[in-house]
């Protein structure tokens, strides 16, 4: 909202700092510490202020499973990674340039991800016997040479924090809690960025508690000046601003983007928005966000279970609202029967599945792409539904709007797949006004003349005739219906026909799906084909290789059912198709089925997103053979 932010950004830049400011292309920083150390907050602050400064930013929060873990334990480590760059980036970064770690456990967990020669900033005060033991270090890694390959800065973060605050009358516990701001301040300094963004935030956030404003600000600045004052840092870094398309930007994660996408779609369509949902990790935030938008007229219904979640939505759709239901794998499984009803009743409905590690309860907090097959095939009977997938946090906004548009235009439920990675990761999003979004035309049936519930327009879509409209009283349901009249029909030919009409309706959507573009050469040896959240890693990998002069192309699917019309044509242009997926090859299966082409699946089913490097290596390996 306050664009003036951009003007303040470099207030401190012209100061004459002792260490040199070295230009770098892009940087990946990870803040890591105990769940209680406020690392998520620290990371968010840094990434938002960096994004606000005009950089392209990718983030990846990574925190322990749902229950609070004991302080200092390995499984209690919480991390937040920020990647920012002078060019268009797609991922939160593969390897860490700078690790800020607040305790030994955080060091232990993250060590493997640090770049050779990377920087490690540790809170030395936490490296006591107890914490070392909890982290499973037999000897102190700060002393035993473990960190020989890195540039290590050991700072007395806790002590300094307490020192700075000692006259403020805070309790020891309260005071200690500020220490994350020290780390943040220091990193601001290290990357030659002003801490103003966070200072403002602190002021607003704790407006009612001046002593906390004072404490946090002091510690933040203490960290900042620590860099400035002490001579231990030999250099400072500066990343050139990115060259992003013109426009107004904000930072956004995928879950928030879905929530806003739904609100925007409803506004665009001129409909009220109804969400029927049940909490589940990692989708709960969408319900939570929408619950806040009461003054936008949004109706959220926290149902007793996932079935009630989707069914209330179906009911509201029958009554004329734009409706959605949000969930993750296990909840998706529960909704399958009701999805069939929506297909039969031909009512618009947006189903968001924020995929997580499966099967069953699986890995609730980890990411995966393994609900694709279920989304396409997982219903009784011939039960076709369009399936879309978001390729990045900000794309969650656009894909959700697209899903709503298709749902309404074709009177059909639509599945949108996102996953834990993009749901929680964030990136800058260019802002559009509602009026600039694709049109979503709603035509409620009004006229009685010629009205039958299952007549169809050119898109094979039936009329939306909502209760309250005089003269249009009619009945629909889950039993097979007679073509046109919608009456129950057991007629064999009619059933055959209806099954095929429903199938064709979904297939016909391909007529308006944007054709795929291939990035790189348009034909050749290797095409990398992706879908959903792998976009960032694939794009980075291919662009990196292309820069090196290696001939590799890539294209990315946001529409999984139906596929873009030129996909088959594109596949034919390449000798080898490589599909990196966070599953055992679910897209690969669809491709085989549809095009009789056999892609190579590169799977990673580890609850973690691909790194660009992993894909680069795989590509190089393939090209070598």
């Amino acid at each position: 909202m306050q664009d003036e932010k951009t003007n303040k950004n470099h207030k401190l830049n012209d100061k004459n700092n002792k260490p040199d400011v070295m230009p770098v292309e892009d940087v990946t920083i990870r803040f890591a510490g105990d769940s209680g150390d406020g690392m998520q907050l620290t990371g968010t602050q840094f990434s938002e202020s960096i994004a606000a400064a005009g950089y392209d930013v990718g983030t990846f929060p990574d925190y322990p499973a749902d229950i609070r873990a004991p302080a200092g334990s390995l499984y209690g480590v919480s991390g937040f990674q920020i990647h920012f760059s002078s060019h268009d980036i797609h991922t939160p970064g593969d390897q860490i340039d700078v690790l800020v770690c607040m305790n030994p456990a955080a060091l232990k967990v993250n060590l493997k991800d640090i770049k050779k020669g990377g920087i490690i900033i540790v809170n030395e005060d936490s490296f006591d016997a107890k914490n070392l033991d909890l982290a499973g270090f037999k000897t102190n890694p700060l002393e035993d040479g473990t960190l020989g390959r890195y540039t290590v800065y050991e700072l007395p973060i806790t002590k300094t924090t307490l020192q700075v605050l000692k006259d403020l009358g805070l309790s020891m516990k309260e005071a200690e809690k500020c220490k994350n701001f020290f780390a943040l301040g220091l990193v601001y300094w290290l990357y030659n960025k002003t801490p103003d963004f966070t200072l403002n935030w602190i002021e607003q956030k704790f407006a009612k508690r001046p002593e906390i404003v004072e404490a946090n600000s002091r510690v933040l600045m203490a960290g900042y000046y620590y860099g400035e004052a002490t001579e231990i840092f030999t250099s400072r870094y500066e990343v050139k601003k990115a060259d992003l398309p013109k426009g107004t930007y904000r930072n956004i994660n995928g879950n928030e983007a879905v929530a806003l996408g739904l609100v925007a779609a409803a506004a665009r369509a001129g409909l009220q928005l109804f969400l029927g949902s049940y909490p589940i990790t990692p989708a709960s935030e969408i319900l939570q966000s929408l619950s806040k938008f009461k003054n936008y007229g949004v109706k959220t219904f926290q149902a007793e279970d996932e079935i009630a979640g989707i069914c209330t939505a179906i009911g509201a759709s029958f009554a004329g609202a734009l409706v959605a239901t949000t969930t993750s794998g296990p909840g998706m499984a529960l909704k399958t029967e009701a999805m069939g009803l929506a297909v039969m009743a031909e009512l618009p409905l947006v189903i968001i599945d924020v995929q997580r590690g499966g099967p069953s309860t699986g890995l609730p907090t980890k990411t995966e792409q393994s609900d694709l097959s279920m989304s396409i095939f997982g219903r009784n009977g011939e039960c076709p539904m369009p399936v879309l997938a978001a390729q990045s946090p900000s794309d969650c906004f656009h894909i959700t709007i697209e899903a709503a548009r298709i749902a309404i235009k074709y009177m059909t439920p639509v599945i949108v797949l996102t996953d834990g990675y993009i749901a929680q990761g964030s990136e800058p999003m260019k802002i559009y006004k509602v009026s600039e979004l694709p049109e979503i035309k709603v035509i409620f049936q009004k006229s009685r003349e010629g009205f039958f519930p299952y007549t169809r327009n050119e898109f094979l879509s039936r009329p939306w005739a909502i209760p309250g409209t005089k003269g249009l009283e009619h009945r629909i349901g889950g039993l097979e219906k007679q073509n046109i009249t919608g009456n129950i029909s057991y007629d064999p030919e009619n059933h055959n026909q209806m099954v095929k009409i429903r199938d064709k309706k979904v297939k016909k959507i391909a007529d308006e799906i944007p054709l795929l573009k291939v990035n790189g050469v348009q034909s050749g040896k290797l095409l990398v084909l992706g879908w959903g959240s792998t976009f960032g890693a694939i794009a980075s990998a291919c662009e990196n290789l292309q820069k090196k002069g290696i001939k590799v192309s890539f294209t990315h699917l946001r529409y999984l059912n139906p596929f873009p019309k030129n996909l088959g044509q594109i596949l034919k242009q390449f000798e080898i198709i490589l599909i990196p997926e966070m599953n055992l090859g679910q897209l690969a299966n669809l491709i085989k089925m549809e095009y009789l082409v056999s892609p190579i699946t590169f799977d990673k089913i580890k609850g973690l997103p691909f790194k660009a490097m992993e894909i680069e290596n795989k590509i190089e390996e393939i090209l070598r053979t």
């Binding site: 930072n251 806003l260 009461k294 003054n295 909502i466 629909i476």
Partner: protein, 346 residues
């Protein structure tokens, strides 16, 4: 469009008659099924209160009783087994102006749909639930339902049911329902009275209808519906009236501490003044009386067990929306999408 305008510009629409609420579909229940009388009475009551057809949304699950929807000339949605109440909840939330009705069975509402039953009642979402309790699965041809009595032989209990049945009224009370009543498919006058009250109540109204399934559970409620036995076996509970029953109205219900006894009010020792006076505002009484269920020593209570006011879900929802609009201002979606912190790339 034209047509609509025309209609509203007419001086006055003629009063509706029951058949205005009948759809053009053949009614396909078995001859003798108890569902017929309910259909007829619902159509009659709707005409009586002059409910505009286009305002009616009739939702049902799956079961014989759930076919009800097809026979009503109204907006209808015959959904999936057990989920009628959730669909109805969505309809009501999206458009609180509608008069939402649900037709459901003992299996649909209490077996697979039991959870939605509990939560709909506690939320008090505005809808009228007609629960056709025939103590059997009709549509699937005669399996036990959650209201099937112990010992009963059905297709799935060839040696007699070993399950203690649900008492729908007690369950509804335990689920924080606000309007809870019972009627009989064969007592048209009573059914009419109940339907009018169902319609009159704001929030979730539950009407259990003891309904005879001619084919798979014929005679389940005979003792309550046949002239000869009815008055001895049924007690009609009415607000502010003493609880009396019997062919000669000679028996009464007395509260002795927290114990219930049946007294003879003609025996000189007791009189009508000793009888408990029913109060439909009392949940305590409703609980006491609801427990007269399949007990040899007590008559089956029929009538309104509970009728209390509590804000409805949709009213609360709309109120909260209005409140936040007032407090925070009507949301501007463009601003929402922008969020609190943006920057411009030029």
């Amino acid at each position: 469009m034209n047509e609509n305008n025309q209609t509203t510009s007419l001086p006055k629409t003629p009063l509706p008659v029951p058949k205005d609420y009948a759809s053009d579909r053949d009614v396909r229940w078995c001859p003798g099924c108890g569902d017929y009388s309910v259909l007829a009475m619902v159509q009659k009551v709707m005409a009586q209160v002059g409910l505009p057809r286009e305002k009616i949304a009739f939702i049902s699950g799956i079961g014989c009783s759930s076919r009800f929807t097809y026979y009503m000339n109204a907006f209808g949605f015959h959904t999936i087994h057990g989920r009628a109440l959730t669909i109805a909840s969505g309809v009501k939330c999206a458009n609180p102006e509608l008069s939402v009705w649900v037709a459901t069975g003992d299996g649909d509402a209490l077996s697979i749909g039991g959870n939605h039953f509990v939560h709909t009642l506690r939320r008090n979402i505005g809808m009228n639930i007609l629960l056709f309790n025939n103590r059997i699965y009709g549509l699937t041809k005669g399996q036990a339902s959650p209201t099937t009595l112990e010992g009963k032989i059905t297709k799935t209990t060839p040696f007699g049911s070993i399950e203690h049945p649900v008492n729908p009224i007690s369950l509804a009370l335990g689920s924080e329902g606000t309007f809870i009543a019972r009627t009989l498919d064969r007592d048209l006058k009573h059914m009419q009275e109940m339907l009018l009250k169902v319609y009159g109540h704001r929030g979730t109204s539950l009407l259990e209808i003891m309904q005879n399934c001619k084919i798979f559970n014929d005679g389940a409620f005979l003792e309550f519906t046949e002239k000869e036995t009815k008055n001895e076996n049924v007690i009609f509970i009415e607000h502010n009236k003493p609880l009396v029953f019997g062919n000669k109205k000679d028996k009464g219900i007395k509260l002795d501490g927290w114990k219930i006894t049946v007294i003879n009010i003609d025996d000189g020792k007791n009189s009508i003044n000793d009888c408990l006076v029913y109060n439909e505002k009392s949940k305590e009484l409703a609980f006491l009386i609801s427990e007269f269920y399949d007990r040899q020593d007590l008559p089956m209570p029929v009538g309104v067990f509970l009728n209390i006011e509590r804000p409805t879900y949709e009213d609360n929802m709309m109120r909260q929306i209005e409140y936040t609009k007032e407090k925070l201002g009507i949301g501007d979606v463009d601003e929402l999408v922008k969020g609190n912190s943006t920057w411009v790339i030029k």
